[in-house]
Amino acid sequence: MKKNSYKLGPDSDGNFGLFGGRYVAETLMPLIIELERAYSDALIDQVFRNEIKQFSKDYIGRESPLYFAERLTNYLEGAKIYFKRDELNHTGSHKINNCIGQILLAKRMKKNRIIAETGAGQHGVAVATVCARFGFECVIYMGKKDIERQKSNVFKIKLLGGKIVPVESGNGTLKDAMNEALRDWVSNVENTYYLIGTAAGPHPYPAMVRDFQSIIGEEAKRQILDKENVLPDALVACIGGGSNALGLFYPFLDDDVDMYGVEAAGLGLDGNEHAASLSKGTPGVLHGNRTYLLQDTDGQIREGHSISAGLDYPGIGPEHSWLSDQGRVNYVSSTDDEALNAFEICSKYEGIIPALEPSHALAFVFKLAKTMKKDQIIIVNLCGRGDKDIETVADYLGVEV
């Protein structure tokens, strides 16, 4: 490894500089240390690596294409835009990359009860999917409000054999579901594996999820070199917890490539109705790691807001906090309105209905591309498909579905 690399983190306690770590109750510490060990062992085990490779190919459907968005490029009259199409993955987003990795780890660790949190239900569906595939018990914590808002994902989880536990504590949304999953874990440490859905949580999750998602960037790098014979000029990805963004960015961190993580600006960064933890948050400790958080001056966590259910988490993976402080990655944001506009334009010009999450990334690409030259290249992570968002968008546009 290079000395001056951005890829060296985290240290053995899970720190990315100030950020990361393992801020969990003592009951969990031995388990988390065991998990870390199991993960390190697995990483160097060729059998494990081959299993991941095989499931990525045959089950997820990797590799995902790198697609030249010709019509959007012409429309914007700026840099060449490529979509990394993880929306084509089984279950419709990048979430499954991580789930396959972790379920294989759980199998190695002989834990056959899987728990997870979910907000909009995308991660819940991906977890229930891999649990079905491996025949493991599956318990999904989901806020009561989210259950009402995301009925079709709830039903999918049930079809897949998953059990949904409604979370009424707190505000009944994602962050409360994560608390509840942690409580379950503390209570069932022996047979239970907690399958966290983004590059957050206590060490080793942020590093592990990043690693499992890095296939995105690895493929993209190979693909763009194949197609254009040069590295891209910029990478753009949306940020919820930050897993799809890290997955794309990580393999390019030491290359001469600009990177933009796009947070949800919701109704705008001025008020509180956004989920821009990096742009508007301050460092704090939540869900097992130190990172930028939306919080009040007393350290109480605030709810995020975004039209996109997958982005309204009040925190962000710790590696992003570090990359931001290092100045390696630029963190910007798109509002609900901007994302919806990008959603519509992308559908109309490319015939690809993106999820609302990557629509935030696209909205930023709309601005960025115009400032760049025609021979420059942007890769944007199209990390999810929009099927799940049809109702939300229809509501917003005032159409009955």
Binding site: V24, A25, E26, T27, L28, P30, G170, D298, G299
Partner: protein
């Protein structure tokens, strides 16, 4: 340096008594009644008092303590109000050790040094920070080394021998033994196993051992008191307060608390 906590345990020991530690969430059920309850606790026989610092995301708590936190936050709880509470308590009581218990983020936002200074100024005796494992607590723990503030760590059924050494290093005041694998106020401990575990602990440390997390009934309290230095009562106390308070029997809260504490104290 003998802190209020170690003095209390020394005294209990010399009287061959098991200590009773009670937990109450700051600002619950409201700021005034909270102060009255704390006073009542110490008067009824609570040897040490833990004051919970409400947090929006109390990931180690069961539903009861969660709810008490939420009520306190909805009431407009702030860190300053906690210190105000302690200040008022200390005007009448300079004996009973006060331990602040909670999650790291509110402390971190308050500023660690500022927080420690306030604790000293207002007469706080110990700190329990649930989500600060030994690997990460030096930024707070190290600030308490030369002062009269105990940094109390937790051990659990999952803590193995090797890890125990890490936990015990720099522990002071007492060791909080979590009697169950789980969150507050949910499961009940298996007393035989618990006994074994505490006895093992006592072989490797001289520091007093308090057992908490699953204790509800006086028969449990009685049995656990036979092999531990203190027992912690939390969820069951909050539950009693909640019942009476929510049924508009506010006037009964204090007498019920007193009755409950005395009944426990009587058997341990």
């Amino acid at each position: 340096m003998a802190t209020r906590i170690s003095r209390t345990f020394d005294e209990l020991k010399s009287n061959s008594q098991t200590g009773l530690i009670t937990y109450l969430t700051a600002g619950f059920p409201n700021q005034d009644l909270c102060l009255d309850i704390i006073n009542e606790l110490s008067e009824s026989g609570s040897d040490l008092i833990e004051i919970g610092m409400p947090f929006s995301d109390p990931m180690a708590e069961g539903p009861i303590i969660q709810q008490s936190s939420k009520i306190a936050l909805d009431n407009g709880h702030t860190m300053e109000l906690i210190f105000d509470l302690i200040k008022k308590f200390r005007t009448k009581n300079s004996q009973t050790p006060i331990i602040l218990m909670g999650y790291y983020n509110p402390i971190y936002q308050y500023g660690n040094e500022n927080f420690i200074k306030k604790c000293l100024d207002y007469g706080v005796d110990g700190l329990i920070v649930v989500d600060l494992p030994p690997e990460h607590d030096s930024e707070l723990c190290d600030l308490t080394i030369d002062i009269d503030l105990d940094f109390i760590r937790l051990a659990t059924p999952t803590t193995d021998q090797k890890r125990l050494n890490i936990v015990l290093n720099k522990s002071s005041g007492f060791l909080y033994y979590v009697s169950i694998m789980g969150i507050t106020g949910t499961k009940e401990p298996n007393l035989d196993i618990l006994k074994e575990q505490v006895i093992k602990l006592k072989k490797v440390t001289d520091i007093p051992i308090a057992v908490g997390f699953g204790i509800k009934r006086s028969d449990q309290a009685q049995k656990i008191s036979e092999f531990s230095d203190a027992i912690v009562i939390g969820s069951s106390l909050i539950e009693k307060i909640m019942e009476n308070y929510q049924n508009n029997k506010e006037d009964l809260v204090l007498s019920e608390v007193s009755k409950y504490i005395k009944s426990l104290k009587a058997v341990i």
